[in-house]
């Protein structure tokens, strides 16, 4: 990424640090970011993954001008997050998976309130509010007060609010947290549409690996305030040297399987399946099949698949 022209970068953060200090008498310090460098190209969906407390929300908040970094430089859409914060705010927005808005305001009032803060008024504001309410299927709840809405509806309101200013860069902090599967699928579809139709840059944090793999062009793994790896899901899997998984149903199960050449490990996956991780499937699968035939082992089923992103996550989070 370092070779990318700076004007094509939506985010260019270098050595960003942030330490939280608390306590009046006994000062406690918690280093949330320890020199994070991150580049995200414009028009990309970028996923930020990491265990709890890794620094995902802190990094997102710095990029969204809600937090001031202690050190390093962070430029978003070509503007410095500290010096040019006010100009930058017009071009950003954010939604989180734990949304919260004023309890007595109605759905259309919430969206319109934030619309006005972003400079919309009159017919343009009404059109934008109506369009977002329709897009997020909130028409029948338009006059419902926020505290009467279900979790899923609240999240849809948060997404509608986050799009009121047609942001160039959208931050989504766990956007499908606690949503029903069907709603999650729709939210993911909306996110993909936003990038495809409007060329919006989207940075999202998530705990769902499948979501990241399905949506994101690139993924960054953050742990203990440091980016440990960044790249496409495939590149990360290769980078981690996790190999490929050969899932087998054998009768009988040969004792030598885990020691066979090129087999990194074998685990019992239940229901008679054995998952063996191999270094090169093109070479190892024919070798294994020949050995099975020679030993009279019956192969009842065989599947070859890439390792899951989750396995990359587990490896990095270790």
């Amino acid at each position: 990424m370092s070779s990318v022209d700076a004007s094509r970068l939506a985010i260019d953060a270098r050595e960003v640090t942030k330490t939280f200090r608390s306590g009046w008498f006994r000062r406690r310090e918690t280093a949330a970011l320890r020199g994070v460098s991150l580049q995200v190209e414009r028009g990309m969906i970028f996923g930020l993954l990491g265990p709890n407390g890794a620094g995902k929300t802190t990094l997102l908040s710095i990029l969204a001008t809600l937090l001031v970094p202690d050190g390093g430089v962070a430029r978003v859409l070509g503007l410095d997050v500290t010096r040019d914060a006010t100009a930058l705010r017009r071009r950003l927005n954010m939604a989180s998976g734990r949304p919260s808005f004023l309890w007595s305001l109605r759905v259309d009032e919430i969206i319109a309130f934030y619309g006005r803060l972003y400079g919309l008024s009159g017919a343009r504001l009404r059109r934008q509010v109506d369009a977002l309410i329709e897009q997020y299927e909130l028409t029948s709840y338009r006059k419902a007060q926020y505290n009467e809405l279900s979790t899923g509806l609240k999240q849809r309101v948060a997404l509608a609010k986050a799009l009121i200013n047609d942001p160039e860069l959208l931050f989504l902090d766990e956007p499908t947290l606690g949503l029903d599967p069907d709603v999650s699928v729709r939210v993911r579809r909306h996110v993909a549409d936003l990038r495809r139709e409007q060329g919006m840059t989207i940075v999202l944090t998530t705990h769902y690996m499948r979501e990241a793999e399905e949506l994101c062009d690139e993924i960054g793994f953050i742990k203990a305030g440091r980016i440990l790896a960044q790249g496409t899901a495939d590149a990360l899997k290769r980078q981690m040297g996790l190999g490929y998984v050969v899932a087998l149903k054998l009768e009988p199960r040969p004792a030598w399987l885990a020691e066979a050449p090129g087999v990194l490990r074998c685990v019992d996956a239940g229901d008679g399946w054995i998952d063996c991780t191999v270094d090169e499937p093109e070479k190892r699968v024919p070798e294994l099949l020949r050995s099975f035939m020679k030993e009279g082992v019956e192969v009842r089923n065989l599947q070859v698949r890439e390792p899951e992103l989750e396995e990359v996550f587990v490896e990095l989070a270790r």
């Binding site: 802190t58 001008t65 809600l66 100009a87 919260s100 309890w103 309130f113 934030y114």
Partner: protein, 264 residues
């Protein structure tokens, strides 16, 4: 700086506060119940104590100021408190909004609510206690109301700064602070009865001068020279100081992460 860019977010905040106020179950109590209870109890007490009409007017002026300042400063504090209570602070401060939009928008609704209370209480005081607020003339009443509203703005913005700096822990102090200001400003008595050091503090509070100016029309000689001008000048200084404090508190909350802690 365009007028549209100034007016639109100010209007947004004012409209939000108005809607939240109208839908608040305590709205009736804040707007009617407590102010009416205050005027009736104080007015009846003046009757029981056998005060002269002038002395009664002196005390009732204080009751009016208390009701107006309480409601108006609370509305200004809502600029921050509504978002703190609903944990939506980050959305507000991620938007391109300035502090003055927040405070002025909230203050306008505070002025509206304060004015409604003033009209209601003035009618009640005239009917029940023969106390006529317009007797000193429109200019004097306008100056008195301006003093109440400016004091409310100052107190409310300082409360916002405190809440932003210390979180909800500061709420209790915030509620107490307005009452302290009212006590020091000579709400039911002339500041000359206060001990000297306390009277010096009272002399630094704008409301002291506006109360003094208004009461001078009811037969109590003014304790200060040019009280209205002094009150306005002090108010201007405190308005600037309060906004500076609020701005500094927000910047600090962006440093410490309190802005996030007060959010989702």
């Amino acid at each position: 700086m365009s007028w549209r860019a100034e007016l639109l977010p100010t209007y947004a905040v004012a409209a939000r506060n108005l809607v939240m106020g109208v839908r608040n179950v305590f709205f009736f109590f804040e707007l009617l119940f407590w102010p009416i209870v205050g005027v009736l109890s104080i007015g009846l007490m003046t009757r029981f104590l056998g005060l002269t009409p002038e002395q009664g007017a002196f005390v009732l002026v204080g009751t009016l100021a208390l009701s107006i300042v309480n409601v108006c400063q609370l509305e200004v504090a809502y600029a921050m408190l509504l978002d703190v209570w609903s944990k939506s602070v980050k959305h507000q401060f991620m938007a391109p909004i300035r502090i003055r939009h927040l405070t002025v928008g909230s203050w306008l609704i505070g002025v509206l609510r304060g004015f409604v209370i003033f009209v209601l209480l003035a009618a009640l005081a005239a009917w029940a206690f023969d106390f006529h607020v317009l007797r000193p003339g429109v200019v004097a009443v306008t100056a008195f109301l301006a003093g109440c509203f400016l004091t409310s703005l100052v107190v409310g913005v300082f409360v916002c700064a405190l809440v932003t700096l210390f979180g909800t822990r500061a709420e209790a102090f915030a509620w107490a602070s307005v009452n302290l200001v009212l006590v020091l400003a000579g709400i039911y008595y002339p500041v000359s009865v206060l001990p000297k050091p306390v009277a010096a503090i009272a002399a630094a509070i704008p409301l002291t001068y506006f109360l003094d100016a208004y009461r001078s029309h009811f037969g109590f000689p003014s304790e200060f020279a040019a009280p209205v001008t002094t009150g306005l000048a002090l108010s201007a200084v405190y308005v600037v100081l309060a906004h500076w404090a609020f701005r500094a508190a927000i910047e600090r909350a962006r440093q410490t992460g309190l802005l996030l802690k007060m959010s989702e």
